[in-house]
């Protein structure tokens, strides 16, 4: 599972793209046209970028309130995501879900939920379907450190272990449940990944300061899940740079220890990965990067311009579809 230059470059492009999109949302948000709770992933992009190069389209993924990165990493349609965040009928949920409820079944992104822990058993059910269909696919279930405090995690993980389901639990530990630090919620001497292993999953903590190693480690674990060894649990220490919900820096609130945010920025995984890319000594890296940056700028600009012109759903549209028809 050695990470080739091409793979590393793709991871970099994915991570950079996710951050650029999130930063554009943050820039637009104060204008008042995005009017729903938005939980941005700035600082937390790397796991999504790494899995983008490991997942295959027939795998499924499911996520949380902070789902933009997970959706984009799975290959979710950018235009439909932005339209959803703007409440437009062209959105992936036709304006019914907003930022916290993203879906793109074409790429296997099943959905995301605003309720902490809520999507975990649904993902386990999707993995059960993979197993019953014997199709060799896995389900990636994204969760945060606080989801471990919900009973449903244990219930779902237990079932996944009992049935050896092809689940990859993707736990991003960003230390905070809204403003409440992990130390007030869980004993710090107990590692989340070890808790999961004690339930019976395979597990590993990934090193977010070494994205290339993250790729290798995650690849090996996903292969285990794919080959029928049962669920795996990965924990990635990560850090949210912006406020829990909304577009702004919130360091002035004082709930983060002094220096914690600066330290996280100094250890930015995207910058580290760029250094790792340079270590491959590829001649054309800089020109390829320039090309990528300029294309990305155009892609994002076009999407936002288009979405802003799109229509809101009309009333008859949102009044229908409470029940499915046979």
């Amino acid at each position: 599972m050695k990470c080739s230059f091409d793979t590393a470059f793709n991871i970099y492009k994915n991570a950079f793209r996710i951050r650029a999109i999130e930063e554009r949302i943050a820039l637009e948000y104060p204008k008042g046209e995005i009017r729903c709770p938005v939980h941005l992933s700035v600082g937390q992009e790397m796991l999504s970028a790494v899995y983008s190069q490991i997942q295959i389209v027939s795998d499924t993924a499911i996520s949380t309130h902070r789902s933009h990165a997970h959706y984009l990493g799975k290959g979710g349609d950018l235009y439909r995501m932005i339209a959803e965040i703007y409440g437009k009928v062209t959105g992936c949920c036709r304006g019914r879900g907003g930022s916290m409820h993203l879906v793109d079944t074409l790429c296997g992104f099943l959905g995301s939920s605003a309720i902490v822990g809520n999507s975990i058993p649904v993902g386990v059910g999707a993995a059960f379907a993979h197993k019953l269909n014997q199709n060799g696919n896995v389900t990636f279930i994204f969760l945060g450190d606080a989801a471990i405090e919900e009973g449903v995690f244990y219930e779902a993980a237990n079932f996944a272990v009992v049935h050896k389901l092809p689940v990859v639990f993707m736990c991003e530990n960003n230390l905070y449940s809204v403003y409440t630090n992990l130390q007030f919620r869980q004993p710090l001497e107990r590692k989340i990944v070890e808790l999961a292993i004690s339930i019976g999953t395979l597990g590993k903590e990934l090193d977010y300061k070494d994205p290339i190693q993250m790729y290798t480690d995650l690849s090996i674990l996903v292969k285990e899940a794919r080959s029928g060894k049962g669920p795996v649990f990965i924990e990635v220490p990560t850090y949210r740079w912006l406020e829990h919900c909304g577009p702004f820096d919130d360091d002035a609130l004082g709930y983060r220890p002094s220096g914690e945010l600066d330290n996280a920025k100094q250890n930015d995984p995207i910058r580290i990965l760029l250094e790792q890319l340079n270590d491959f000594n590829m001649d054309n890296l800089n020109s390829e990067l320039e090309k990528f940056y300029s294309n990305l700028k155009i892609e994002i600009e076009e999407v936002f311009v288009k979405v802003k012109k799109d229509a809101f759903p009309d009333l008859s549209e949102v009044m229908s579809g409470v029940y499915a028809e046979n």
Partner: protein
């Protein structure tokens, strides 16, 4: 289909079981999940033998994890399967409200009305035999409050198969509520109803004086009351709703326009009951023609005590329904005259019932 002997008898629980067996045979994507579905008792006999016949991929024993299992059912349903889940008491299912309300009920609507959730959840409500505060609750009203759910409450063994099949084949999450006391109900297989559309009620008895609306086991008690009232020359339109979400409001309106009097019998607690919903709807639709204030006969807002010495005062029976009809129609009566309706063993459905649950 097997040919039925002319006088072949079956019962409600067997009919549930045979319907499940038939679904498992014809729909390869259907599967049954629940605590006890493979055990020697087979959920009051309703899943007996299915594991042996269909194996562990179709009939799946589960951990005691109501919330996660409901979510896992949703995950299977959005992945092309048709899960049928069962809980031996509704009260345990309260642990699953997040997955029911935030996942199952909303998935289709919330994610753009593309992915359907064909999930059936059988909930059994306890009655009598000391089921007490946490084994006897009739909380069906809760589920009617949630857009995206359908709620079915069969009363008759002749209809439970058709209603269950329709619920399972429905592309939406359906709460299918069985009263424990209906399970032993005998019927002749020739009387089986083949198809019932969800949302359609049944006019069980027709009469000109008053409309009684009920569902589930309350229809059985109402039917006893109707038969007694007939002897007093009081004619009742007895409407068995069968489905309480959606419910057949039009049939109730048509009936009340005829009888001008309405009683709703509901096994749930009074405050916030489904019966109150029917009263509200019908009062708004029929107010000018009503001859008497519509009446709700529902459980008191008191947790049901366990003692079998007092349970007769807590369960609505035919005698209470008759009394309320007479009061509503302002017909004088002597309480002693109703003595034949007194249930001398109010904590058991029949003499053969010896518990334990």
């Amino acid at each position: 289909m097997q040919r039925i002997k002319e006088d072949a008898q079956s019962n409600f629980a067997d009919e549930v079981r045979n319907t499940l067996e038939n679904i498992l045979e014809v729909d390869s994507k259907s599967l049954i999940m629940g605590l006890g579905v493979t055990d020697p008792k087979g959920v009051f006999g309703t899943t007996l033998g299915l594991f042996e016949e269909f194996g562990p991929k179709r009939v799946i024993e589960t951990p005691t994890s109501e919330n996660a299992m409901t979510g896992i059912g949703v995950g299977l349903a959005i992945s092309g399967f048709r899960p049928i889940m069962v809980h031996q008491r509704m009260d345990f299912f309260l642990l699953a409200m997040d997955q029911l309300v935030n996942s199952a009920a909303k998935w289709h609507y919330m994610f753009g009305a593309k992915t359907s959730v064909p999930l059936t959840i059988r909930l059994i409500t306890g009655r009598g035999w000391g089921q007490g505060p946490t084994h006897s609750q009739n909380l069906h009203a809760w589920f009617t409050h949630i857009p995206g759910l359908k709620v079915v409450m069969p009363a008759f063994a002749t209809e439970v198969g058709a209603l269950l099949r329709e619920s399972i084949n429905d592309p939406n999450p359906v709460i299918f509520i069985e009263d424990r006391w209906t399970h032993g109900q005998q019927f002749n297989l020739n009387d089986r109803v083949d198809k019932i559309e969800l949302g359609t009620a049944n006019l069980v008895k027709s009469g000109k004086d008053i409309t009684i609306v009920s569902s589930g086991y309350m229809t059985i008690e109402s039917l006893k009351a109707v038969k007694y009232l007939k002897k007093l020359n009081i004619g009742v339109d007895l409407i068995d709703l069968r489905t309480i979400k959606p419910y057949d409001k039009n049939m109730v309106i048509d009936s009340v326009n005829k009888t001008k009097n309405l009683i709703v019998v509901d096994s749930g607690f009074s405050t916030g009951s489904f019966g109150n919903q029917v009263l509200s709807d019908i009062t708004q639709s029929c107010f000018p023609i009503l001859a008497s204030p519509p009446r709700l006969l529902a459980a008191q807002d008191i947790p049901e005590p366990t003692s079998h010495g007092v349970i007769g005062s807590f369960k609505i029976g035919a005698i209470n329904i008759v009394e309320n009809v007479l009061l509503q129609l302002k017909i004088e009566y002597n309480s002693d005259s109703l003595s034949e309706l007194v249930d001398t063993s109010p904590d058991i459905p029949n003499k053969n019932f010896t518990g334990p649950f």
